[in-house]
Symmetry: C2
Subunit: 395 residues, 2 copies
Amino acid sequence: MTDFSQTRALFHLPDSITYLDGNSLGPLPLAARDRVARMMGEEWGNMLIGGWNQAGWYTQPRRVGDRIAGLIGAGPGQVVMGDTLSIKVYQALSAALSLRPERRVILSDSGNFPSDLYVAQGIARSRDADLRVVAPGEVAGMIGPEVAVLMLTEVDYRTGRRHDMAALTARAHENGVLTLWDLAHSAGAVDVDLLGVGADFAVGCTYKYLNGGPGAPAFIWVNPRHAERAQPSLQGWMGHAAPFDFDRDYQPAAGIERMRVGTPPVIALTALDAALDVWDGVDMAALRARSITLGQRFIAGVEARCPQLELHSPRDPARRGSQVSFRHASAFAVMQALIANGVIGDFRAPDVLRFGFAPLYNGIEDVDRAVDTLAMVLGSAMWQRAEFHRRGDVT
Amino acid sequence: MTDFSQTRALFHLPDSITYLDGNSLGPLPLAARDRVARMMGEEWGNMLIGGWNQAGWYTQPRRVGDRIAGLIGAGPGQVVMGDTLSIKVYQALSAALSLRPERRVILSDSGNFPSDLYVAQGIARSRDADLRVVAPGEVAGMIGPEVAVLMLTEVDYRTGRRHDMAALTARAHENGVLTLWDLAHSAGAVDVDLLGVGADFAVGCTYKYLNGGPGAPAFIWVNPRHAERAQPSLQGWMGHAAPFDFDRDYQPAAGIERMRVGTPPVIALTALDAALDVWDGVDMAALRARSITLGQRFIAGVEARCPQLELHSPRDPARRGSQVSFRHASAFAVMQALIANGVIGDFRAPDVLRFGFAPLYNGIEDVDRAVDTLAMVLGSAMWQRAEFHRRGDVT
């Protein structure tokens, strides 16, 4: 059984704050700081060019990918790291569309992160495909034989609403539709079982619940049944079957390796690799149970003491990720006042307060402090003062 | 006048070696190690999510880009950092092709780095365009009115041969052809004048002569006359006109900002930013003069003392970058023996020995040691022993 009181000590978290924004940027794992310092001094500094082989820099994208795979229900050799989430969305969506050449509809929803939609708009324009964006609740009903790819973010970045990945994937497959899941708010936050549900493609970032640091590399997973047929749109050096033969013609590497593009970002991958140490031995079911405990306690506490706030997340934890959102007409000002009092969540326009719960370092005491502080802020003139200052700034 | 004996002290370079492989991976600038440690502890660690604004992480891709701009003859606000060179080639080539919709030929040469050709092959296939790859000496004659984009790496990674960027750009423009220059082996190595020659697009990496570390972020430059019309193929969050409005539709940002894609790689950009401190006050003409002095001395020394080697680079320094290559039938073994004796260059199949000269930290003493060691290795049985071991490994 994971002892979550032990995992908290593995992070640098200033005592004066309660950090509930790990759904945006995870805190610094102490190991990441130390490992990067060592990598820079001992590997880059002393090995120089030799680091590529001696320190294993070349194979790092897949070794780290294997560690991520273990957290999302994927197998070894199925995940590779690199680039950013937008680029991995681009790769996965392009490859998926090429596997359904006779269809031209990309189906997504308005709960998707906007940049996933930007990527899809660009691809749709260049391929004369059609991007359909419907409300989250309408997705299932819109899956039909004209759809090539169903592209969804499992957990909504504003509301925390969680799609039923198993049911939607099953329905997609009944209609010959491929699925692409963005796990930005899922990886390290909820129990994901990609192989179990039989998903087709998945991508995600690592700077949220996986604590890889600002701008940490993204990941991509391709179900092994597609991996040898998926055609990379970004034909990069490191995705070549034999990069150091310097052939003039591109030959995709076997399996997921072809989704590598350029030279791996070694410093960033080293930080992420160290950050993943925290996950060794963590039982995802236990993590999920703790996440639900924290979220439910927060909802109960806020609803009991802060009637000014309206729940913006599903009440049923089975339909929610590891985040709880509330609405307030002056949400920006309320969040500013909260932060000034040491409780860090974040604001999303126009009126959303977001609170992420990361069981590795958040506990009951964080929930209670957040509730207390929210009640105090809302019951005082604090947020009105912040609102006043804000409007003063704007005008 | 730059004092190059002072700049050497800014790097971590083990005393026991002569490092002539900065054309592959530059050494560790001491400031990079220190700055990254500080960024991780004080910014990520203490500011947490607040680092995006308080520490200026969001604007880092352009601030660092401005520093690169100063080294390649570009202006402020014209260069942006991120991703890898392959991805920047993809962005630049896609955008350039879209500016010449009535043409369908991409012209490149066999001296280009293979992965640039891989990227172009992928784009050519998806757009039904035609990639023509000719010998470097034939490029000028192949520029005609059917060509949309001339895509070249200025300095050849094997031979160090340098194209005449001004003449080829002028000839391209006479024919209505856009130019895309890969500056991987140029930036920080030779005097590049993008605005002076009126080039259209340029890209490059920062882990070679710019010493940004393994897998450091790439850069892209778009001539201001195209920047507002260049259409991004990778429509990413950070390239949106208003990323934090979370609009559902993509609107490209003004100018070069639209070539940003995802969340910036903050740790890696911090290392690079610190690495660029070394360039403050460096006069590029003086750097180039020193590079030529080092290369010519190396050629003269090797030709005088190592008749077994055949010069594989242009003898005329005006036609050469900051690298000198020689050929030898057992080049791999010779390089292994050289490295074992503390002189680090590298090998490129089948028979090339490469030596890069980085004036910021290489001096006459490095050239002389390399010549002495080459002569010693070639005059002894060392390389034959290495060759014997190698064949033993292979069979």
